[in-house]
Symmetry: D2
Subunit: 292 residues, 4 copies
């Protein structure tokens, strides 16, 4: 199912961080404007405590005189060593490829796919992977291959090997766990650093692990939350991208929390995925800088 | 400083819980209406899982034929044993007496006192107690005795004895810890069960204990919270009355969190105190029922 | 596509309003419990200013001794005239039938259908009606007839006649306008009083009418809203069911507002539809009572 | 009453807007860093539609080689004409002087003064002006002259003349209307352009004018709002600085709305005042740019 985003102008996005240096904004914006780039967006942030400069800058490539395949080289040569710059350059003409992992609950994946087919995002979704066949109908509905890989604790190595094969075959850039109820192996996680987005159904770091709505109910909280984060090898402890909450009362039973939580989970996950697609997230010290 | 609330009608509030029984609402409302009471407010809730019925009912006493000082007796005799009812009856004509405990931060106490002098609450505040003299000016401003009791870990028994004497002398019904930075002894807490309200500057149960804003900053959360709860002997684990959050970003430093948190803390604490003053809170199994 | 809700117990819902009378709660709850009904839910509200009593009560029919098809008769005979009661009794075993009207935007209809196929709601959706063919794929995806009725200002009488025929044929109880961009005729509206739910993309009564996001942008507001309401003959002036807002900044362009608004619109509309399906809405004086 | 802010470093704030020009950020940051200024904060925004560049930049003056009283001259000479720059330079060592106007309601003024005496803001508040004597106690409490000017429709010219005299005598930079219930004359407003901050108790542009809570109640909205804005000669139509809302239900009476609104009003007003004190607001086309 094709995205309707094909008429967007061809733009480049540079995401960068480096030790904070006087004039660093001037240096980088000069690189773009002096070479014919029209800056469409600039957001920057200086972590004064740690002395780190972060920037995201996007520009129109139409009159930019450096060829696309050379920009990275040039930028690296001119500034990489001199300013200790770490950077990533991406192009809107090359949408990222996203895999969705799902188990039995459909609210998050429907929210993602509804945005996808409406053309809201510059992304391709070539495959859905599930440990259960329950939602295979969704693959049919949206014309996306739905691969059932019945992974469990005992067959994880073997099954993840099949998943790696699929992810490679479909040339996947990043993975969204849309209420996927399996813990990934360390090997899996290390293959996709800062490229696996999870939704946890609590306001982390409260209620880490299984059954957070039950734990929230037992504690008698007055708000429940959802947290989207990058997956790291420590459970529910990766860099947080987005969180939100909804108010509950003493009248709400556990099924009520689960129901209210669904709306929260899907919106929080989709907001995080959108920021990732737009290259608006930088991570540092297990935290995220999320540009506006 | 007198409240301007003196022209409110004289009303009674009955707060009750008992095993859920068919027709229990009818029984209780009948007790009031059959005896000439005009019901002004009724809110009820049934915990289906545990089979417990909760109700708060308020009525105008003008034409009520049972004398005020007999209502409790009558209600107990007629329904107490028969329905296993636990209840509390209070009268708007007898405002509760509230003590404020404070340390060095003034935002919560100013918010409480501004409501008090504006007559928003049917309450008396005859004394402020502090472990530091810093805010004694506030006592002068509002004409309320400001007692400095320099309690610390080593002199807690002796100093709390002085506090008990003050609380008794001023005939205090309940205590509000308005960012009071001392842990109360078990003896203190057991003297005022469900009558000590604290504000904790995090979204409990996340970040229990000291320096929650520092912990929130380190974890990289995207929302910070505040929680008002009744104090129990387990630290920050008492029944939660009210919580709220505010959004933060990567740009916010620890001082920013502290600043944003102040507005949250004072509003969350004042909301909880108001519910307590209005007898709208029932506790059960370390959780609260908070009527609307 | 079948709902998975078939194992819910058979329950009745009584929604009622009448002049406020002492003991009215007792009378109605007695009707249910004395006849073997187990009350699962009760919420009531008294409008003291206008002297109107509102209640929603739901009970398990398993041991209820009055046959389902006689309950309405009995209740009417016993209480209708005596208390001036207006009421509606519905049964969970008879799900309402809902039609979705849509134009070219898909975010609201996907949100509704994702809930439908997940079995979140006790409802049937037998038909989608659109004035454009653009979203016909959605009918295919979900196996629901998608009827294109190209209504415009000039052919409204004729085209609405076709719509009435469809609504009758599919035995439709209520209609959801999921960003349907056509004004309905007075005749249409009068056929479905309090049974047409619209989503307006502003915080009503601000920005009534067309292009509210443009108007919000021009005014420089810092929040945008969405409002779900019953349709009446006065544009955007019907009883409000649900509203919510999202924060914006000076950085947000009109396309940004439209994008942020989409998430708001779909959630606000779905919340309103859910309350309607659960018979939790009563209207009075062009306002709604929405039970919890 | 002295602020405890005296140990803050001496900093300069430059707030600037001009036609968007490639490299303009580089030019301005270069001006500061090349002359020994250490940039503490930078936020910028480009209005792509109108081609306007906005920036706020704050730097430490300790090693800045241009004397404070020359900075404005130098900046103007070097960039003013060349880039069409409009700008304002202020220094943290010269706190602004703020007057509070109040009528009979105390919640907003207490919130402002509580922050003031806690030293949250770099501001001086030398005078309170009121059209009623009711709140004169607050002047005593905080040691601030409380001037009663009994302005009404008939004596406005004469009374405002007395207000001008007071504002001049106290050397007032800007005015906060803390629920001041008098409309200012055009002459008054024109003396303090973008320097009078009002709080309106509705979600503007809904419910302009008097008694917005009554209007909100009549319309049956599900959220109420408050709006802080700069005062212009058109009633409630000035540039919006900050808005927020709170949820209400059918149970809330007009007094409930007024009560819930109070918390909203005071927080929204204080947030707006803080942004003004920090020189974080720029206005353009009757809208505001509010820096983070």
């Amino acid at each position: 199912m094709a995205s309707n985003e094909s008429h967007r102008p061809d733009t480049a996005v540079l995401v960068v961080h480096c030790p904070d240096t006087p004039g660093i904004i001037a240096v980088i914006t000069e690189f773009i404007t002096a070479n014919g780039g029209n800056i469409l967006y600039l957001d920057q942030y200086v972590d004064k405590v740690n002395g780190v400069f972060y920037m995201r800058i996007e520009w129109d490539l139409e009159h930019f005189i450096i060829p696309k395949d050379k920009i990275s080289d040039y930028f690296s040569t001119l500034y990489g060593q001199r300013y200790g710059v770490k950077f990533r350059i991406t192009f809107s003409s090359q949408p990222q490829r996203m895999a969705i992992f799902v188990s039995k609950m459909s609210h998050c994946i429907y929210d993602l796919l509804a945005r996808y087919v409406a053309g809201e995002w510059n992304v391709e979704i070539p495959v859905i992977i599930s440990n259960h066949p329950n939602l295979s109908l969704i693959g049919d509905q949206f014309g996306i291959p739905f691969e059932v890989i019945p992974v469990n604790r005992d067959n994880k190595v073997e099954m993840e090997a099949r998943e790696f094969e699929l992810l490679d075959r479909y040339n996947i850039d990043f993975i969204v766990l849309a209420r996927y109820m399996q813990v990934l192996s360390e090997e899996f996680i290390s293959r996709y650093p800062e490229r696996i987005i999870n939704i946890h159904h609590s306001f982390l770091p409260a209620f880490i692990g299984a059954k957070p709505y039950h734990a929230a109910f037992d504690r008698g909280v007055k708000l429940i939350g959802a947290t989207s984060h990058y997956v790291t090898t420590e459970l529910d402890a990766g860099p947080i991208i987005e969180q939100d909450i909804v108010r509950i009362t003493h009248k709400d039973t556990i099924p009520d929390l689960i129901k209210k939580g669904r709306d929260l989970e899907k919106i929080v996950l989709s907001r995080a995925v959108e920021k990732h697609i737009q290259h608006k997230i930088l991570t540092y010290n297990n935290k995220t800088v999320v540009f506006s």
